[in-house]
């Protein structure tokens, strides 16, 4: 087993050792179970009663986005203190006094948190999937696939927080990460809303696209694209792979700069 995998494994084990992890998971699952009554209600639009399957589908799509967005908070909170904690409690010396490369240590930590966060998100999405299956008997095709695809966003958030935590206090690093992701949601979300067919009936002309928006991390768009696996709607706003390439490129570049900087640092 390579050192990288070993460190990733230790990272998962150490995180799962914390009671707060289980508390968070329990609270999240409880929240999801509490909203399961949404799937039973009688809903009507324009006097027409909606069927259960349709309600479940719409509610699940909404919860899918809430979980995916909420996971950014969790990942940035977990990632923000890794370097400083390892430095303080002797873990960093434990790893680096052995024949472990600094890149193996950093990537091992990132991989461990990513796998844990992705599994956490998958469990929450799986809970929704099972609730819908139990209540309506219908399977939401693509729900779990979309969850896995959204985990790329989590990797971006983790790498960004790790990178920022080299320069900023831990809390600020998490806050900046959430701010950068938040701007992506606001800018791309607003742009998508402005280009909605319904809005276009009231607003004449195309809304202009700023250059910075084109190159900004497309976290929101990636999540939107993943959700098309559930909704089966056509993905609008950019090319099918553009959001993936954008986020993947940002992640790779950030990871490269992080490793380069970490390699030069004093331990």
């Amino acid at each position: 087993m390579s050192n990288l995998i070993r460190i990733a494994f230790f990272t998962i084990k150490d995180q799962m050792r914390q009671k707060s992890f289980y508390l968070l998971l329990a609270v999240a699952v409880l929240f999801i179970l509490l909203i399961r009554s949404c799937y039973h209600g009688d809903y009507s639009v324009n006097g027409q009663k909606l069927d259960n399957v349709s309600v479940a589908w719409h509610a699940s799509l909404l919860v899918f986005h809430i979980i995916a967005a909420g996971m950014f908070l969790m990942t940035s909170m977990i990632s923000m203190g890794v370097f400083s904690r390892d430095s303080e409690d002797g873990s960093l010396v434990m790893f680096l006094s052995r024949s472990v490369g600094r890149w193996q240590y950093a990537l091992g930590r990132i991989a461990g948190i990513w796998l844990l966060a992705a599994a956490f998100m998958f469990i929450l999405h799986l809970t929704i999937f099972l609730i819908v299956l139990a209540n309506t008997g219908g399977m939401i095709a693509g729900y779990l696939t979309a969850s896995l695809l959204c985990s790329v966003n989590l990797l971006f958030a983790i790498v960004l927080t790790f990178f920022l935590s080299l320069y900023l206090p831990n809390f600020m690093a998490a806050l900046f990460t959430l701010g950068i992701i938040g701007i992506s949601f606001i800018s791309d979300g607003a742009y998508q809303a402005m280009n909605n067919q319904l809005v276009q009936l009231f607003v004449s002309g195309d809304s202009p696209v700023s250059t910075w928006r084109i190159y900004y991390p497309k976290v929101y768009m990636l999540q939107q694209h993943a959700s098309t696996f559930i909704s089966h709607n056509q993905f609008e706003g950019m090319g099918q792979m553009d959001a993936w390439l954008n986020v993947a490129l940002y992640t790779v570049v950030l990871a490269a700069v992080l490793l380069l900087d970490f390699h030069r640092r004093e331990v």
Binding site: M94, L96, S99, V100
Partner: protein
């Protein structure tokens, strides 16, 4: 085995190590001495690759220090050794064992032997947060000894240990040396150094002021402490 060539380390305007050069041969028990702030820990950190020289080169068995391969057969005990508080001593050693390529039964056996060697049998399952400084130091020494290292780098290894613990460490180090291994020791305990080490270097203000075998450094009717004071303070010895 270890070679330092004209190693200089600067932190801003402060020079922690200034043109340090020496060689430690295989099987040698080498002591690095000096007052606080002399640059001993800086040298050790550069040997381990935690810090990089501003100028000069360090190599272990011909491999530049800092490369993971240079630490493959190296054990290290830090000056103020810290253990992750959420791990037990046994878990901590098992992790070290895994990085030494030990797995399963062989890892358990190696860790069991080490726990016995450093006198931590019976406390190995307790969380590190409940350990005293001396217990942490014993576990740290155990971790350094895991995987049969050829080189042991020890920064104040008896710090926090009671006299019995200090005696145990001395016995362990003597045994380690008798197997033909190399030790670099940073210590303020000059009497221990005089008993254990073959060679020593005294550092002051980032420079090596003397490096030779203990027998050559310590002249007739002198102790290592006398030599240390003479070289560090530059004064005559008060008898």
């Amino acid at each position: 085995m270890i070679s330092l060539e004209n190693v200089t380390k600067k932190y801003g305007t402060m020079t922690a190590a200034d043109g340090v050069s020496y060689t430690v041969n295989r099987g040698e028990f080498f002591a690095l001495l000096g007052p606080n702030g002399a640059g001993k820990t800086t040298i050790v950190r550069m040997i381990l690759g935690f810090s990089r020289p501003t100028k000069g080169t360090i190599s272990i068995n011909g491999i530049p220090a800092g490369r993971p391969a240079s630490r493959k057969k190296t054990g290290y005990l830090a000056e103020s050794h810290r253990l992750p508080p959420y791990l037990s001593g046994q878990e901590y050693l098992m992790r070290h064992a895994s990085f030494c390529g030990l797995t399963g039964g062989s890892a358990k056996k190696a860790v069991g032997d080490i726990l016995e060697l450093v006198g931590m049998n019976g406390s190995e399952k307790k969380k590190a947060s409940s350990y005293s400084k001396g217990m942490s130091q014993r576990i740290g020494l155990g971790a350094a000894l895991l995987g049969n290292p050829e080189l042991l780098v020890l920064d104040e290894p008896v710090s926090g240990l009671d006299p019995l613990g200090m005696r145990d460490v001395r016995v362990i180090l003597e045994e380690f040396k008798n197997r033909g291994n190399t030790i670099i020791l940073n210590s303020h305990l000059l009497s221990e150094v005089e008993k254990l080490c073959d060679t020593a270097a005294i550092m002051n203000k980032g420079r090596i002021v003397i490096k030779d075998s203990i027998s050559c450094i310590v002249q007739d009717h002198e102790t290592l402490e006398d030599v240390f004071i003479r070289h560090v303070e530059g004064k005559g010895i008060r008898k």
